[in-house]
Symmetry: C2
Subunit: 262 residues, 2 copies
């Protein structure tokens, strides 16, 4: 038997100039906000909403697409429409690249994820020489070719981040940096071993909606933006030694920074 009439929902106001599909979206949104539908709960089916409000199915679908665009719900073909579960958030601390955090065998991502009780994975690892975009080249001081290290990070099977590191060839070629696994401490440890002591990192953060390609790679639900982070690493001589271009599922991250007051 189908579930009972959605009693948590009210009636439409025919005198309002607010469009019917917006009124329906408002009521569903309010019910979600007030916890009458909780994370992962199934919303009334389209057919039930059609019945309850006495409107056509396209109107109901329009309402639901509003909520999808807001990132409140996700729909699953053949199953229903569900309140979007909020995954555990990964917090990136401002000291995450401090030397003391460089691990002996595992990557920082792996260690941190396991400490948080998640199952970390890295896939799509690809290391190759290529011609950089104008922007990457400029940030690195103008090289015409660079080493690019691409990889995707997953937590508990869910992709959360896709990153590409670019390094000048003279720092990376014929070193472990050009290998898929650069060894303990990662590429920053290798750079320092080779005489490029790191001084600081610049990060630029912006947020936007994903391209279809990014949405696919990160398996993003509708209404989930990405955080685009571009980090440049500088050595003590002021040379840019690495640029890392990262696209993160925005619902999986909080970035933390510390700013000086001086």
């Amino acid at each position: 038997m189908p579930s009972a009439s959605p009693t948590v929902l009210g009636a439409l106001d025919p005198t309002s100039d607010r469009a019917v599909f917006r009124q329906i979206a408002d009521q569903l949104r309010e019910a979600i906000d007030k916890g009458r539908f909780k994370e992962g709960d199934k919303l009334p089916s389209e057919a039930e909403l059609v019945e309850h409000y006495g409107v056509s199915r396209m109107t109901v679908r329009n309402s639901l697409s509003v909520l999808q665009g807001e990132g409140l719900v996700v729909s699953e073909h053949g199953k229903g429409v569900f309140v979007r579960p909020r995954p555990p958030v990964r917090r990136l601390a401002s000291d995450r690249f401090a030397r003391r955090h460089r691990q002996q065998g595992k990557s920082a991502f792996t260690v941190e994820a396991e400490a948080a009780g998640s199952r970390p994975e890295v896939d799509s690892l690809e290391v190759k020489e290529e011609r950089p975009t104008q922007e990457i080249s400029t940030r690195l001081g103008g090289p015409r070719r660079v080493l690019a290290r691409r990889r995707r990070y997953l937590l508990d099977g869910r992709p959360v981040e896709f990153a590409v590191s670019y390094l000048p060839l003279d720092l990376a070629s014929e070193t472990p940096i050009a290998e898929p696994n650069p060894g303990p401490g990662g590429i920053y440890a290798r750079l320092e071993e080779n005489g490029h002591r790191l001084d600081h990192f610049d990060e630029e953060v912006c947020a936007r909606m994903p391209s279809p390609q990014e949405a696919k790679t990160l398996r993003l639900a509708a209404g989930v933006p990405v955080i685009h982070l571009i980090r440049t690493a500088y050595d003590t001589e002021g040379r840019a030694v690495e640029v890392c271009d990262t696209v993160m599922a925005a619902d999986a991250y909080v970035l933390a920074y510390q700013l000086p007051a001086t």
Copy 2:
């Protein structure tokens, strides 16, 4: 006479299993990406696309709503659908709260905007005592009442940011901080004058889609996320003296930070 047939667009592949509305969205997206439609350009009207592809209007609208959700286009009632103009971006530097940047009369926002050739405004200014949310209270060390300073920032008439500062009453009451205009250098200058020398700021950054209220306040187009930034200011004794909760139009900002390598 209506504009000519949209020759920049191709034909549908009836053998593809990709939905028709996705194929149309793909072609429009590609045309935009390749610059055949530039920022602010008007796309072919729905009627023209119906004509060109030989599909129903709802299918065309479905395609356009995909592109809206990606933030690529905006539609204007009675005018058409346009490639979304990318506004000038405001870059927030990591030293933006350094003492040397505190201005003598105007606010940091005003000075910086004028330097960039924009016309800055601040409105919706509201200062009042209130009971903080659990989260704000915790960050401030547990006060039961706080002073809240709300304001909205605009550049060239466009709202870009809405911010609320919360301060413990014992630091703010009966000082210029409780006035709409706290005077030169802003509330940080006043706090330091009153013996609370600032030591550092913690910032937490996340991104998400706006609530309908936020979309309205910031006049956000569909497909534009917000950056949610929570900053806590600490004095040299380690006390949290202010929490600033800021929601920014993501397409108007790039945040820049500097991280130590040590």
